[in-house]
Symmetry: C3
Subunit: 360 residues, 3 copies
C-alpha cells in the first residue's frame, strides 16, 4: 500500500564469467592491517594482507549470523567476527569459538577466494572451479620498467562492464569524445582497423601519420611540430582485460611500430563486474619516456583518471541507462566498420559465458 | 546477496494512450541552439529547433551505440552524436558517417516524432499511427489576446497523470485545499455540477453567488465588496487536457456567463505521462483584465505556479503513494456527487486506452 | 527504456503475524492535537488522541480519494480530510459530507485499529480478527515504580524485525559488540544458557560471577571493586516482545536472583515490522536504584539509546543486507550453543505465522 512499483523486466541473464581472473583491487589499496571489502560478481568479499604481506580473500560474511567480517578485527592473521568473536584463519577455517564447550562446528568455514598479486594489482578468482594461475594474463610489461614510469587508478562505473570494454575496443571515438591532448586530427576515425581474433582474444590495430604528432608524445619527439608515424593497438583478453599500446615516431625504419621503437605508452584497461549494472574499472599505464620522473608520473595518471571520469564514463553510464538492458544485440544496433572489434569480443565472451552457464 | 528486495506487484498495465497529442514542452523552453530532452511516455526524446525555428523531435538515442543524442552537437540543422560523430538530419536520417568507407548504413535512422507548435506549447505525437493534425484540440482562446495577458508554466509531479486530472475535474476541493485568494466562501462545494459528456470529452460546470466576490476578480469588479454571480467550467478532452474557464460579474443579464461577458480567466491544464508514476504538468492562463500589464502577468503566473506546487501537488503525490496502484477503481473508492466528472473521464479514457492496446 | 532494473527475487513471503499486539508508538509521541502517522505492517496508520486523551488509530487513507488523513485537520474528536472535507469520527464513520445533498455514503468508513495504552506505550492490533485485550503481554513491572525510574525510546532499523530479536535473545554478543560499560569480562560468552520454551515463549537465562561487577551496577553495590553474582534473563513472547532482566548482588542467599533482590534493571525490547525490510524498535527500561533521580534517568535512557544506535543497529542492518533474504534458515547458518534461544523463537514464530497465513 505504501510504495508504487511498476517494473519492466528487461534482462536478468548473467553476463559475466565466474571462472576467470579479475582485478579485485590495486595492490596499494589493501595496506597494513586494513580489512578492505568490495562487492565482486555480486558477492561481498573481504580482502586483507597477512602479516607477511600475502593478500587473502574470503566471503565477507560470517557463516554463523552473516555479519560482514570486515567489521571485525584482526587477531594475527586471523579475523575475529565483531558479533560473536568466532575467529577464522586465512583458509576460512574457524579457529576459535568462545561459546559453550568451545568446540569448532564442522560447518564453520568461510568460503575463500584465490588471489594472485601481479602488475600492481590483486587478482581474484570467484568461480567454483579451481583457480588456475596459468590463466592469469601476462601484463608484465606494465611493471618491467622504472617504478616511476607506471601508475594505477580506479573508477566506479554505473554500467554493465561490457559497455566499458566496447569503449576501449573501438578507439574511433577518440577524436569525438576527448580533447586536444589525444586528438589524432581526425586521422584515426576513418580507418578500418586490422582485426585478429581467437576464441579468447580480439586485437585491433590502427596506423596513421599526423601533424603535429599526438600531444601526449609530441614534446618527447625530435621535431614536436612535424609529422610523425603513429600506431595504437588494443588486445582484449577474456573476460575483461584490454592491453592498449600507443606510440609515435619520426624515425624511418621498415619494421612494425611497437612500445620499444617509438615514444609510447603501454596501458591496461580491466573491468570487474560489481553487479550486472555496476562495474569496477581499473587502469594502469607505463610509459617509455621521462621514466624516472615521479612528479610527471603523478601528473600523468591523474590526467588520465580525470579524462575517464569526465569524458568516457558519463557516456558509458548514459548508454547503459539509455539501453535499458544488458543485451546489446537485442536492440538491433546499427553496426559499422569501427564496430568489428567490439562485436567480436561481445560474441566471443557471450559464447564463453553461455558455456559456463550450461556446464554448471 | 547484496540487496534485499521484496516487491509487491500492484499494477503494470499501461494507463496512457500513445496515439494522441501531448504537450512536450513550453515553446520558450526550447530556445536557440539548445538540445532539450525529456522522457515522454517512457521514451527519451530530444527536442530542438531548426535554424528557421521549426521544432524537431526524435528518439534521444543514437541507433549505433545508444548514446543520448542531446549530449551531441548541432551541425546546422543536423545533430552529430557525441560518441562517434554519426550525423542525423531532422528526419532522423543519417547524413554523415566518418568511419571506414563513409557509407551510410541503411538502418542508421533515428525514429522521429511529429510536433505541432500551438498556444505557446510544443505538442508531440508518440504513437505508431500517423500523427493527425486535425486531432490537436483547439485552445486558440489562450493566445488570441494581448501577449501580456497569457502565461505558461511547468511542474514535475511524482504521480500517475490521472490523479492530476482528477484534481482539476472536481473543483469541490477548492475551499478545502486552497487559501483565501480563490475561496468561494463554501459556495462551490455543496453544488452538484452540471455534467455533459461524449466519448472523448467531459464537461462540468458550476454557478453560484458569493459576497465578497472571489479575490482573484474582486478588484476588477465595479463593487469589490458586494455580491457577484460566478461560474466555473472544466472540459476534459482525451487524453489529458482540461480547459478551465472561471468568471464573475455584478451585471444583470439573462444569457450564460462566459469568458467574454464576465471578469474572467481561461486556463489550460494539461499533463503528459513521463512514466506510469511520474508526470509532466503544463499550465497556461489567459485573463481578460489588465491584459497589457507585463508585471501583473508575471505575478499572476508565478502565484498560480506556487499554489500548484505548495497546495495541489503535495496532495496529488501523497495520493499516488497512498494508493499503491494506478488502478483507481480496484481500491473501491467511495464516490459522491462531486466525483461524477472525474469518474466519467476515467471511464472514457480507460475505454480509449483499452481499445488502443487491443488494436496493437 | 529509461532505467535498467535487474532484480533477483530472494523472498516475498510475509514473516510477521498480523493478529497480535504490537507497539505503535511511545505514549508521549502522540501528544495534544497532533496527527501522528506511521507505517505498521505495511499499512499507513493515523494515530491521535481524543480531547479526553484516549488514543485512536485508523487507516491513514480517506476512502474517497485516498489522501492521507494525517494531512487533514481536527474537528473536535473527528478528522476532516484536507482534500474534500469529508469528516470521520473515532470509529472511522463519516459524520459530515459537505458535497451535494450532504448524505453520508454508506461505504464512507475508514478502517480503524484497536489500541491499548499500557506501560508507556500505545499498542495496536492490525489483523482482521477481533483484538483481544487479554492477549496483551503483562509488562506492568515497567511502570510499577517511580516515574523517574523508567525511560522509553525509539529507533528505526533497516532490517527485518527478526534480526533485532535474534540480537537480544542471544546475549553472548555483549562482550564483543559493546564497550566497557556492560562488559561481563568474558564471563557470559562461554555459558550455555538455560532455555525454557512454550509455543509462544522462549526464556534464556545466564548466571555468573565477575570482578569488578558490571559497570552499570558496580557503583550501586556495597563494594564496587569486588566480586558480585550476576544474572540476566530474556523472555521472548510472540510475536516480537522481549523482557530482559539483569542484576548483580554481593549478598549471600540461596534463592533465585531477581529484579527485587539484586541491583537491577527491567527492560522491554519490542519491535514492530514497518515493512519486511524495515522495523520500528521500541525500548523501555526501569531500574531499582536512584529511582527518583530525573537527571540520571535521562542520562541512562540516552546512553542506552546511543549504544543501540551506534553498536547494535549497524550490525543488525549489515546482517540484513548481507543475508539478502528474510529466510534465515535458507542460508544454512552454522548454529552453536548460544543460538538455542534465537533458533527456538524463530521456529515458534514461523509456525504461528504459517498457521495464520493458512487460516486466512
Amino acid at each position: 500500500m505504501i510504495e508504487v512499483k511498476t517494473i519492466e523486466f528487461k534482462n536478468t541473464k548473467r553476463t559475466f564469467l565466474t571462472n576467470a581472473w579479475y582485478v579485485a583491487a590495486i595492490s596499494t589499496d589493501v595496506e597494513g592491517e586494513k580489512l578492505f571489502h568490495r562487492t565482486i560478481l555480486n558477492k561481498p568479499v573481504l580482502i586483507y594482507r597477512k602479516i607477511n604481506g600475502t593478500p587473502i580473500a574470503m566471503l565477507d560474511r560470517c557463516p554463523h549470523r552473516f555479519a560482514p567480517l570486515h567489521l571485525g578485527k584482526r587477531v594475527g592473521d586471523d579475523i575475529s567476527c565483531l558479533y560473536h568473536a568466532l575467529q577464522f584463519d586465512c583458509e576460512g577455517q574457524c579457529t576459535h569459538n568462545p561459546h559453550g564447550n568451545g568446540l569448532i562446528p564442522k560447518a564453520a568455514k568461510v568460503p575463500t577466494f584465490s588471489l594472485m598479486e601481479k602488475y600492481g594489482f590483486i587478482w581474484i578468482w570467484i568461480g567454483d572451479e579451481a583457480a588456475d594461475p596459468s590463466k592469469l594474463p601476462d601484463y608484465s610489461m606494465l611493471t618491467n620498467g622504472h617504478s616511476n614510469s607506471v601508475g594505477h587508478t580506479y573508477m566506479h562505473v554505473k554500467s554493465n562492464y561490457q559497455v566499458i570494454i566496447d569503449n576501449v575496443m573501438d578507439l574511433s571515438h577518440v577524436d569525438h569524445v576527448h580533447g586536444e591532448i589525444i586528438s589524432t586530427r581526425g586521422q584515426l576515425t576513418p580507418q578500418i582497423p586490422k582485426v585478429e581474433e581467437s576464441s579468447t582474444h580480439v586485437k585491433a590495430s590502427w596506423k596513421w601519420k599526423q601533424t603535429p604528432p599526438i600531444m601526449i608524445f609530441s614534446n618527447f619527439l625530435p621535431k614536436p611540430a612535424e609529422e610523425a608515424k603513429h600506431f595504437v593497438q588494443v588486445t582484449w583478453e577474456a573476460p575483461s582485460h584490454i592491453e592498449l599500446i600507443i606510440g609515435a615516431t619520426q624515425e624511418e625504419f621498415d619494421g612494425e611500430l611497437n612500445f620499444h621503437n617509438t615514444t609510447s605508452q603501454y596501458d591496461l584497461h580491466t573491468t570487474t563486474p560489481e553487479t550486472e549494472d555496476t562495474s569496477h574499472y581499473f587502469f594502469a599505464t607505463r610509459r617509455n619516456h621521462l621514466e624516472e620522473d615521479a612528479d610527471f608520473n603523478q601528473f600523468k595518471i591523474k590526467a588520465m583518471h580525470d579524462a575517464f571520469e569526465m569524458e568516457d564514463i558519463p557516456i558509458i553510464e548514459n548508454i547503459h541507462t539509455n539501453m535499458g538492458t544488458t543485451d546489446f544485440f537485442s536492440l538491433d544496433p546499427v553496426l559499422m566498420s569501427n564496430d568489428i572489434a567490439p562485436v567480436k569480443f561481445r560474441k566471443s565472451l557471450s559464447k564463453l559465458v553461455e558455456k559456463e552457464i550450461n556446464q554448471s
